[in-house]
Symmetry: C2
Subunit: 243 residues, 2 copies
Amino acid sequence: MSDALLSSDDLEAALRAIGAERYHNLHPFHRALHDGKLNRGQVQAWALNRYYYQASIPAKDATLLARLPTAELRREWRRRLEDHDGDAPGTGGVARWLRLTDGLGLDRAYVESLDGLLSGTRFAVEAYVHFVRERLILEAIASSLTELFSPTIISERVSGMLRNYDFITPETLAYFTPRLTQAPRDSDFALAYVKEHARTVEQQQAVLAALKFKCGVLWSMLDALDYAYVVPGNIPPGAFRPS
Amino acid sequence: MSDALLSSDDLEAALRAIGAERYHNLHPFHRALHDGKLNRGQVQAWALNRYYYQASIPAKDATLLARLPTAELRREWRRRLEDHDGDAPGTGGVARWLRLTDGLGLDRAYVESLDGLLSGTRFAVEAYVHFVRERLILEAIASSLTELFSPTIISERVSGMLRNYDFITPETLAYFTPRLTQAPRDSDFALAYVKEHARTVEQQQAVLAALKFKCGVLWSMLDALDYAYVVPGNIPPGAFRPS
């Protein structure tokens, strides 16, 4: 990576290049998931572990919300909380994720207890929340930019899973539909913010590192799943065991 | 796990039972390492990743040191910093770990840069530091109790590695020798502290959960290594690639 100051378009290109190399649509577990190579227990393990990520996103967003300096920025970021937490019980992204775990036959209290979570999932998700708490606001916003790449992965996931698994229905995948419009809206804002505010070499490097960090969060979650539930014999002590 | 108050001896037995089920001497990567099943590049990956754990232990201990309320407790905990950071350049546990990465042919600046680290290693190690910062002092001390089990794993590791790898010498394993006396001294203190101070059911449950958490830190580090460097084709983007 060059240490020269980038134009804002070149910064965007560098961000997109990170996604092209490191976004988790390239991970073997994602490919196996959408290609129909997994059994129901493996899909359960994915949904159970990913629940912790989904359930922690509002905590991540509230952490950043508490640090934002203007009403304008806070209003923008507050929308993310509304998307994930909804306006009433049973609404919002986290509740929709539970329809997926319900539909896969997982006990809701067990899912919410986090008892069966992989340590690798827990640590990756918590690293994301800590990052947003501890780093520059610019870095925290940049770490959300994986959403630039999410419409593609969502399309692949939804069409592949509906085609390949008889235990998956459009209703159980209800989480993903609103994300197809929410994610571009959110990433448009975050990208514009980053392009405007990363004005020094150090800030641009920090922004690029933040996106790499976040790609590492998502990638390592799939590493942990693939190791525990696809490679035979590796479910860690205490983790969810498909029946 | 029962919810009754345990005697201090039963609490110790419950802690030892957690180690018997969850300590990473039971992990397939540990067994492969000491049985000589790994090649030099895989041992390099282990030493490189474990370096971040070793280098973060003084930060973990200093974090707890800053929270301890009495000179007596701080003196006790300060010894751990002395063990790891030494009294002069080139002394202490972290410096001895670098003799291992040197002896394995890894560039020291590359190791210290953390550039090739697995995200799974990074997040597990940082989870440990955050745990010690954020939880009760009782839980932070309990999380160190994996050292109760470390003399066994060190003996297995040292004898197995010396026997099975021609690129490993007693000098490169110099890190481990002092740990055989330091770890029991430290864990004797921590065990006595926990047995004395965990006086309610809630405190005892928190202590047991803290040890499970820490076992998960060490276990998930080996999950990440085994997945990336033993299962073929899984080295994540940006991570160390053996030459």
